[in-house]
Symmetry: C2
Subunit: 316 residues, 2 copies
């Protein structure tokens, strides 16, 4: 995220500092497991969105930091719970809480991170902000369920895929943007537009992620290819390829073995599905940018447009 | 809970109706799994505490119902997550979400119920109420961790046991009482006393539960004897017996098999540990009652004193 303006990097640093403090304040296992999750890093996209959708004056205050921490804590909570369900030993190269502490510790740590998020957001004194985050959390849970339900089903449609991503990725991106706007006193109309912007951005970001998993450079992404294929997650390129290639469809339906990954991904690329998924990401990025057209509030439009470019043209 | 005054039963009915509505409003799997959890019942003690610690005027309004729903939703969320960790097929004779839907559904359902709880509580418009619930949820997660950490350890002290129960049971009882008081405009001093009352009540209730698991009548409780012993939960009678009887200590340390249950429970009763645990529950009940002495707010003191008697002298 080297293209991110220093003002937002500075904001993200304040969020990071506060997150470390929040986690360290808790005694015992929650502090350890929370700290472990925090140190495993991440792009901190959601706090950055809070910052970019805020006004300069509001960004100086503490309430924006509360909101930035809250959205990141919710994101961390979902990752910790996802890792339990996936029995994932590593995330971003670091051992997961599930791996080091086991299922009970990881489940309770996720619950604790949710609680910390809501507690932190009450620091804003804004009940509407809490309501907004609660609705987003409910969407995340529904998206997680939809993902499990769609797993291994090559007949998932593009529309069903987008519904799932809107819940699982779009909802918290949107909440981050609306929290930034709301806590800056941005009016409802602009705040709603920023929410729609962030949702489209989230979808573009997710599709770019899907594409990297089919066609990225593992040296740059730091992740092996074909994770989605192996764990049954029907990503956009996979579902588009399944519509075109009976062999891809069969592999998804029966569940891919490690030996299936490279030949199947070659067929996915060969079917044109990866190129088409890239197009869809660009289309969503353009839609996101258009949502900003009518926004008159003094938020950081340039940074948001940069974020659109970065999200839809990811190499890592 | 036939001794509960009709005004509180009426309140609990309003909470129940609202909970059904809240869960049914959600589309898909969350509604199904949430409805399943709701229908499996429970004593609804936490909403009743909200009602009993409120004033008559406040009880008529919707904010108390919001709070009653929120505490019950949090309780339901923790049960759903506990059932995942325990791989429990039944709760109160009904199949658990884990059993019917599997681990991912149950994990996401628990997360969704937490989100619904916070969303519901924002209906009160009271950010302090949200903050209070968030702190209680964090305690619940810490209590859950502590319980797992203490599992199978016969050297757990009474003090460590009480710390765990204060987190795992006392914190949400206390939050329910304080929410009832706070949303009735009861002053801080009385609200704090009601919180301490409810924490002591929660501990008494938990110890009475422990006692029933060692010495209850399964026909009345609806639960087989010795569940704590079998799953490694070091309850108060078990830890007191372990301090006195090397054989009980050895069974806890090695993990009880089904054939160990009846002979070990006979030793637990024989050691006097069950009688002593009953004494401790009565002592905590008395402490709870004393907390009410200085309370001048027009809350339902008689109902609270009845609750103390019921909690510490349970047969089911």
């Amino acid at each position: 995220m080297s293209l991110v303006a220093s003002v937002h990097v500075g904001f993200a640093d304040r969020v990071e500092h506060r997150l470390e403090q929040l986690v360290a304040e808790r005694p015992g296992a929650v502090a350890e497991a929370g700290g472990q999750t925090l140190r495993s890093g991440g792009k901190r996209l959601r706090p950055l969105l809070v910052s970019m959708c805020a006004t300069e004056a509001a960004r100086e205050g503490d309430h924006l930091v509360n909101a930035g921490c809250a959205v990141e804590l919710v994101h961390m909570a979902t990752l910790v719970h996802d890792d339990v369900l996936d029995a994932a030993p590593l995330r971003r190269g670091h051992p997961t809480v599930w791996q080091t502490g086991g299922r009970p510790l990881a489940t309770a740590t996720g619950d604790a991170l949710f609680s910390l998020a809501f507690g932190e957001l009450t620091g804003t004194g804004d009940i509407g902000a809490v309501s907004l985050l609660a609705a987003a959390c409910l969407s995340l849970a529904r998206g997680e369920l939809l993902q499990r339900r769609q797993a291994g089903d090559p007949a998932v449609t593009e529309e069903q895929y987008l519904e799932r991503c809107a819940l699982k990725t779009g909802s918290l991106f949107s909440a981050a943007a609306r929290l930034g706007a709301r806590l800056s006193g941005v009016d409802e109309v602009d705040a709603a537009a920023l929410g729609r912007f962030a949702e489209a951005l989230g979808l573009a970001f997710q599709i770019a992620d899907d594409v990297l998993d089919c066609d990225g450079d593992p040296d740059t992404t730091g992740k092996p290819l074909g994770t989605d294929l192996l764990d049954g997650t029907v990503s956009l390129p996979l579902l588009l390829a399944a519509q075109r290639d009976v062999e891809v469809r069969a592999v998804i339906a029966r569940g891919a073995a490690p030996a299936d990954v490279l030949p199947t991904l070659a067929r996915v690329v060969g079917s044109g599905a990866v190129a088409d998924a890239r197009e869809r990401a660009l289309g969503l990025a353009a839609r996101a940018a258009r949502e900003l057209d009518g926004v008159t509030a003094p938020i950081d439009r340039d940074a948001l447009l940069d974020a659109v470019r970065i999200a839809s043209d990811r190499t890592s």
